[in-house]
């Protein structure tokens, strides 16, 4: 029995039944990583020794299978882990060892989850293909000539290729949902403030949110239970009552209203993606839901506003990487300014530099009103538009991306085309609302298609129930697996 093929909830059952120990399970994942990592390049660092120790301790404590106890997982390399490197896939932090634990990692450790290692990403989470990593290019397990999406490409691949029972990523403009879609797994961006950002290396503070990658919707609910919660260290954390997201997950959508918008259809949307959408609509109708047409007015403006706000915040957030206290400092320099210049020139990759420059420009005196201020006004309009939409429907259904995974190197020469792959995901971050991407079938090349459900703030439970219906209608996991072996 290969336990790495099981879902998280199946694995919990196996641990509970005593069918398998956490140690054996962890070893199985280590073996699996050993076998497929050379083809996929998902992990930046592995922690196998401490993982096995940790698994043994959980076995000994006898609570394996409770919550996430004894479950092996992977973390995106932008979440701080004490005593280990946290590189953000950047040269400038290649030697950075965090002196503290991020809240999510500390919580998972306490819950007994077993960390297998830290996974690849676009440098500082800036990108949509994981090609912007300073260290390696992660491949899509469905076709290793294609990108896994990004920026949380390593997180998506680790789950898609059974190299972790679940993983965490971060989503600033689609960085969980887009790679989840491209790799055929479930990925959720929770409501802004639901999961603590303390210890998540900031890209764009007002948009960043940590969320799970899992093999199915039930797994997503289980992981969300573990990571959601108020944290006094994060001032933007929401102090709301705890919800059990696994409760009544199978309730169905009878009588619920599913919103569909023409803005997310038409030109640019791959016909097979549209076909998956149509099938999903039909499935919801069959399940007793009502389909309502909604208008979303600001799709194009959302992308523009997103790149201004995200870059502006990033230009400030990334200013601390100056070679003074930690990280990499240029070897040769003359004087302070030269040290700054050389350390940052050598330490950051091209995309990061581009966004720092864009953001710096947008905040500059004389341009602030035309760019940053306008983008913030746009943000208000987008929030209002979503609020209006959610008066007429419970959740909204859209494709996660207009197309399936593209080839490695295909879009690297054209940043704007790369930015367009976030078109359907960024409005959600701007609004702060939650969204989930789940597999909606395969295209003619056998590449996964992702469908997105968007809900109003703190509607994760409702969204998960709707996702559960769709997942069962599509029966994706039963019909398709990455062909790596």
């Amino acid at each position: 029995m290969d336990y790495t093929k099981l879902t998280l909830h199946e694995t919990k059952q196996a641990l509970k039944n005593g069918e398998v120990t956490s140690e054996a399970l962890t070893q199985a994942y280590i073996d699996r990583i050993g076998a497929v990592e050379p083809k996929l390049d998902a992990y930046l660092a592995t922690t196998f020794d401490s993982a096995l120790e940790h698994a043994k301790a959980v076995d000994k404590a006898g609570n394996a299978g409770d919550g996430l106890a004894g479950i092996p997982y992977a973390l995106k390399d932008n979440m701080c882990t004490k005593g280990m490197t946290t590189t953000c896939a950047s040269k400038i932090l290649s030697n950075f060892v965090s002196p503290y634990d991020s809240t999510v990692y500390a919580g998972l450790k306490d819950a007994g989850a077993v960390l297998l290692g830290k996974v690849n990403m676009d440098e500082f989470a800036m990108g949509s293909s994981t090609e912007n990593s300073a260290f390696k290019t992660t491949k899509n397990p469905w076709d290793t000539t294609k990108v896994p999406g990004g920026s949380s490409g390593g997180s998506a691949v680790s789950v898609a290729a059974d190299m972790a029972a679940f993983s965490l990523g971060s989503d600033t403009g689609g960085s969980i949902r887009q790679p989840a879609a491209l790799c055929g797994v479930v990925g959720m961006k929770p409501t802004y403030g639901l999961v603590s950002r303390y210890g998540l290396v900031a890209f764009a503070s007002s948009l960043d949110q940590i969320g799970p990658f899992t093999k199915d919707v039930e797994d997503c609910a289980i992981v969300l239970n573990a990571i959601a919660g108020y944290d006094h260290r994060d001032s933007t954390s929401l102090n709301v009552p705890k919800v059990d997201y696994t409760q009544d997950l199978t309730e169905g959508v009878k009588g619920k209203k599913i919103g569909v918008s023409k803005s997310f259809a038409g030109e640019g949307v791959q016909p097979e993606v549209q076909k998956a959408m149509d099938e999903a609509v039909a499935a919801y109708k069959d399940a007793g839901a009502e389909i309502v047409e909604v208008d979303f007015n600001y799709l194009d403006q959302a992308l523009a506003a997103y790149y201004i706000i995200a870059c502006a915040e990033a230009s400030s957030n990334l200013a601390r990487y100056d070679g003074v206290r930690y990280g990499v400092r240029a070897k040769e320099y003359s004087g302070l300014i030269d040290m700054y210049r050389k350390s940052r020139s050598q330490g950051f990759g091209a995309e990061v530099k581009r966004r720092i420059m864009l953001g710096t420009y947008a905040l500059s005196s004389g341009y602030y009103d035309a760019y940053y201020k306008k983008a913030m006004q746009m943000r208000t309009l987008i929030v209002e538009d979503f609020n209006r939409i959610f008066k007429s429907c419970d959740v909204m259904l859209t494709p996660t991306t207009a197309t399936t995974a593209f080839g490695i190197g295909e879009k690297t020469a054209d940043p704007l085309e790369m930015y367009m792959s976030d078109l359907f995901t960024v409005p959600v971050n701007i609004s702060g609302m939650p969204a989930i991407s789940l597999p909606g079938g395969l295209d003619h090349e056998g590449m996964p298609i992702g469908l997105q459900l968007i809900g109003p703030a703190l509607s994760e439970d409702r969204m998960l129930k709707a996702a559960y219906v769709l997942e069962n209608a599509v029966s994706f996991r039963a019909s398709a697996k990455p062909a790596l072996d």
Binding site: F96, E313, Y326, S365
Partner: protein, 481 residues
């Protein structure tokens, strides 16, 4: 051509919170380098700030004490610039929506009262310190990083160095009273920046201003304003243009010099701090802060005059410091002789403190001891002269004045029998004085009194001694005649 001087001020005061503005590191001064740090104030990747509630409370109190309007809604912003003493490469401050706006403070200079407008007060964090040591580099101490500050910005309402100083002193006094800052100049916990320009007398058009930063004593402030206003006037008289720039004040040389011009000024790219939520203060919270404000120096001074009947000058000297005012009040409560107590607090005590390098905070005896001392004089138990010796001993740590008097045998001689015996002896020893008095030289009485005081080591009650001397001398003259 006559010129008017136009001065505006920015005052940075460190707030007296126990912990920093965004983390729980201590704010105490003088710790070993980089020991008061944590991932948050070191600006480590992934950290987030949490605003210290005390900072908001203290800034609110400062605003109320300076007659500002407190904003129900304000927010923090990032001020972006690179410098090694700023680990995040941005200072978290307030830009367009500060916590306090539109205050005013009256100052008195040369008998004239002038209102000085306060534009705004905002909250921000302090930066670290660079230590330039040796040739191989510069060291950074980030202990001060994240120590909370308020910045008080005035209108360009001051017209002279004296006014600038009076304003600065008054603000310091008020901040100290409200307890929001310890205002220790020597530790840099209050710093003054001066914006100064000159204009033709009577003109409405302001001249180009220069800025002098981090003046850290009232004397430096006053001298810098004198120097800079003179320099600008001389430049203008020569037909030169004033350059808008930041100038460095060298307190040793007594000159200011150009640091950087406005053309090289930073674009700080302010934008709202996304990691913090806006600061919302309800009217109830403002009312509560107002109710918690202590009596401010102005009100205290007026009360001392009306309630204790001490002169206005005495009242203003004593209320200059919160500690000396509290000391005064306690002493008066213990023994109700306000004027006598005030005298000690204004003359002898400051002299002793200065000599011994002490302050009112470190004075070795309490207000009840001072009250006791005054009571001893008033009751005639000791003379004023002995009292000075008693105080000396009190500063030497001998404690209770009554015990000191006893231990040194300084009690005033009020036993007329004992005193009479000593005086008889003095008269016997000084027949010339008696004959001088007999021939009409009454000054000789003074000499005899002096001799008696000497013989009693100052313990004779002078009035009683005088009476006895007169009685005995007159009796003797009557006999010989």
């Amino acid at each position: 051509m006559e010129y008017d001087i136009v001065i505006g001020m920015e005052i940075h005061a460190e707030l007296a919170t126990k912990t920093k503005i965004f983390c729980s590191c201590p704010t105490t001064f003088g710790a070993d380098e980089n020991t008061h740090t944590c991932p948050v104030c070191l600006g480590m990747p992934g950290v987030l700030p949490v605003l210290n509630k005390k900072v908001v409370e203290y800034a609110t109190k400062a605003g109320l004490a300076l007659n500002c309007k407190i904003a129900n809604f304000s927010k923090m912003d990032r001020k972006n610039y690179f410098y090694p003493d700023l680990p995040k490469a941005f200072q978290t401050s307030q830009f367009d929506l500060p916590i306090c706006v539109g205050g005013v403070l009256d100052i008195e200079v040369g008998g004239e009262t002038r209102p000085i407008g306060i534009t705004r007060i905002h909250i921000e964090e302090d930066a670290g310190k660079l230590i330039h040591e040796g040739a191989d580099g510069t060291l950074v101490d980030v202990n001060r990083c994240g120590v909370p500050l308020i910045e008080i910005v005035t209108e360009p309402d001051m017209r002279s160095a004296e006014e600038a100083r009076a304003f600065a002193e008054k603000v310091r006094n008020i901040l100290e009273y409200t307890g929001v800052s310890d205002c220790k100049m020597e530790e840099g916990s209050i710093r003054f920046d001066v914006n100064l320009s000159v204009k033709e007398k009577g003109s409405d058009v302001l001249g180009t201003r220069t800025e002098m930063k981090n003046l850290n004593s009232f004397r430096a402030l006053e001298r810098a304003v004198h120097y800079e206003s003179k320099r600008q006037i001389i430049e203008l008289k020569k037909g030169h243009r004033i350059i808008q720039e930041t100038r460095k004040w060298d307190d040793v040389k007594g000159v200011s010099s150009s640091m950087r011009s406005k053309e090289e000024a930073h674009d700080y790219r302010y934008f709202p701090e996304p990691d913090l939520v806006p600061i919302v203060i309800s009217d109830e919270e403002i009312a509560r802060a107002k109710a918690e404000l202590p009596e401010l120096p102005e009100a205290k001074k007026a009360r001392y005059v009306s309630e204790y009947g001490i002169p206005e000058y005495d009242a203003s000297v004593i209320t200059t410091s919160k500690v000396s005012a509290a000391y005064f009040e306690e002493a008066v409560a213990a023994y109700h002789e306000p004027k006598l107590i005030a005298n000690w607090l204004m003359v002898d005590i400051p002299a002793h403190l200065k000599e011994r390098e002490l302050t009112m905070e470190t004075i070795p005896f309490g207000p009840s001891a001072l009250a006791k001392l005054v009571e001893l004089i008033k009751s005639g138990a000791i003379s004023g002269k002995i009292a000075k010796s008693v105080m000396e001993k009190m500063f030497e740590g001998e404690g209770d004045p009554e015990a000191i008097v006893k231990a040194h045998g300084w009690a005033q001689m009020s036993d007329s029998g004992e005193l009479e015996a000593i005086i008889k002896q003095v008269i016997e020893d000084n027949p010339k004085s008696v004959s001088d008095i007999a021939t009409g030289n009454k000054k000789a009485y003074g000499f005899l009194t002096g001799q008696v005081m000497r013989a009693t080591k100052g313990q004779a009650n002078p009035q009683m001694a005088n009476q006895i001397i007169r009685k005995l001398v007159e009796a003797q003259i009557g006999k010989t005649e």
